[in-house]
Amino acid sequence: MPASKEQLEEIALSRKEYNLIVKLLGREPTYVELGLFGSLWSEHCGYKHSKALLKMFPGMGKHVLVKAGEENAGVIDIGDGQVIGFKMESHNHPSYIEPYQGAATGVGGIVRDIFTMGLRPIALMNSLRFGPLSAPHNRYLMSGVVGGIAGYGNCLGIADVGGEIYFDDCYSGNPLVNAFCLGIGKTGGLVKACAYGEGNLVMLVGADTGRDGMHGASGLASRTFEEERELRSAVQVGNPFMEKLLIEACLELAKTDWIVGMQDCGAAGLTSATVEAAYKGRSGMDIEVQKVPRREKGMTPYEVMLSESQERMIVIARKGYEGKVKALFDRWELHSDIIGTVTSDGMFTIRDNGQVVAHAPVEILNTPPVYRFRPKKPAWLDGLQKLDLSKIKDTAPRDAGSTLLKLLAAPNICSKHKVYRQYDHQVGDNTVVLPGSDAAVLRIQETTKAISMVTDGNGRYCYVNPFIGGVIAVAEAARNTACSGAHPMAITNCLNFGNPDKNDPYYQLRECIKGMTYACKKMKIPVISGNVSLYNETRGVAIFPTPVVGMVGLIKDVSRHCSSGFKRQGDVIMLLGDPGGDASIGSSEYLELVHGQVRGSQGIDMAAEKDLHACLIKAAEKGLLSSAHDCSDGGLAVALAESCILGNTGFKGEINLKGRVDAALFGEAQSRAVVSLNPGAVRKMEELAHRCRVPVTRLGIVHSGRFALKGLIDLPVSELDQVWMNGL
């Protein structure tokens, strides 16, 4: 009997897709099969709207060992026989419905992606977006999300080294919670998420299976937000203690030769874990659902297969080694049960007490349709990109100080210490630069190396100009990386967009990806992993298109790393990069905060950007720099103020005003960084900048007590510090 409209709605498949399934199978699917298709063909698992676009990203680079899409996370070589793998993933919808558990299980999921590969997770970051905190519900969401990240992450013993938080009205009905995890391992020690070898055993490890998280992939992640309350049961509940045991047990198991593969149960639970593993191994699988240990009675095969109960892993044990595998998990007080076998017939078979309830080719299950559209540029975008400067009143010199204070107190700019102090950012004995600087820096034990990590993504820029916004997301991440003295190695990303079935969100998605691709290619930075979160809209209102970039860089000598705060009084402060023109107030924090406008496209010259990074990295490696801080949100004045506050110092200097006061102080011209250095190093720095074709301007010196910009601002740093520290 053909599936009813209600059935298809429940699993978010269209009638057209259903008809395709019937055609491919040559018959109507069974009820359980329909559930499998619903999950595997969802946007979340199947990337059917984004796959064609994601192919644009450059995937290869000389350090890349595992490319995007091949495994749970991409992996790069960092030399000395060491590899790192990282990935970022969204948990937006669950976090809106149940903020604590939604965010907690987001952390749990991304951590499993890393240790599944045999990598030890050593760092977490998260990129968050909420509506303004003036609304109590947004404050509730933020405290729940931060509490969930802390509650889950801290229990695991993985350093949570920061990330970013931004606020805007557009996220009120749809917060963003993107979690990043990085793990380290040895070359040759990677485990694949793969099932092969007829007769090998499929083992389910960890938590029992319950009804929590039903339809998480097909329901929550693949539709918009109208009926959030009804879907509350689709949010899973996390048990970080179980996860911690799984980390240790699975990493121990990864060192043995008892298994052929390992895969975590994430979105679509047992279904995607088993089908994807069989697909990668060009195998089939025969599963008996009665063997799956449950935490509640009366669960149907459909429910068992689609449950998203957390902290579960699939292990493919070599035949004859299952006893050893079980003994290992027993020692960690974890359940492990044989639930099926690997077959060679290419079929995915599910039995309930021996009776076949699903029997479909793995190939068909795991090959959802790929959609391509030709979206049109939305008509409203042209107007939005224009900025008539004559209609924006410039900041009077006497108001420059009060405007700076206003910006420093703004939630998008102020210190986020009230958030990150709730995360354990030092466990692991690696964290050299703590959260709060441009990039976190972790040293690699027993080497002289270090890695830097950042997340970046400005939704406002992408809303006004999706292409440029995409370029800047990558460029800014690389700039922050370079400010820490690190060479950019690779990126991961989370693409948070609206409903892709509509023209405008699909256009934004395509343009952002094009922009990111352009920047990545210009800088030769590969994209090694990522995740797509579409349908981010509530009652027809979409979020700003928000791609978030997670970038990892490599520092050869950790003693040459750099951070944002000024270090020594008497150091000379310089601006690297072109100061920019009046148009740089377009899409800026200043324009929105002071003038209430979101418009005017930013511009970026990737050649200048690349030159700046080369200059910063060389300067750091030569030991010329005391500090480096990129000019981003809030512009030059905010960058200078932050370096003063972080370094507990002051600033005395002047700037050469050529145009508007607001553009010079608060404009967000790209490709700039504020550095400080010993007076003895100034000439070398100027020569280096010249060789790198980077404009360099002396701004002043590191001073004590006051922030004094001649003729414009003269304030005690304690006052700047006070507003910046208490903005949230």
Partner: protein, 228 residues
Amino acid sequence: MKFGIVVFPGTWSDRDCYYSIHNICGQDAVYIWHKETNLSGCDCIVLPGGFSYGDYLRTGAIARFSPVMDSVADFSHKGRPVIGICNGFQVLCEAHLLPGVLRQNDHLQYRCQWTYLKTENNTTPFTAKCKKGQVLKIPISHYEGRYYADDSVIKELEDTDRVAFRYGTPSGEITKEANPNGALNNIAGIVNKRGNVLGMMPHPERSCEDILGSSDGNIIWESIIASI
């Protein structure tokens, strides 16, 4: 000398303790799984930080029943040094090897930050290399770190010089603002009557190298090494 580092299910600073003791201080260190009972060969037992048994029920309440804990008690009764860090401190309190309890921080949030510890007693095996009153920069990372005991216990601890560390300012003043969790009298660490069992909430194993922001934690390991 040899340090024995106890590992409960859910422990996570075992690896950091190992790294700082072995790689930084150059001493032998072994992991002791919580089901083992043989501590022979160890000169000092470390109960590291983490979330043993997920902190379920109450911090340290389940771990104290692990088989290893009887051996740890015997070890301490022989006067040999035992140090409990963070969750290890909580386990020692639950096992009644130290008095008092660690309650939820007064602000009801997890807190990870640098703290400045004033060394109140420099005659213990754990602090002998400190000057009296020396300030150590060592970070905390906990949700349940507010030391609490009834008045008579607090009085006894203070009268008998058993408060090893208090949270203070960088210059060593004991102020309300310097107290990160609401601990009574800013208590960060205490010793037992005999002075051979130390419990402290801050993590010395995280501050043993300048590149990590402080190497003050080494003073505690070095004091133990010198005392054996």
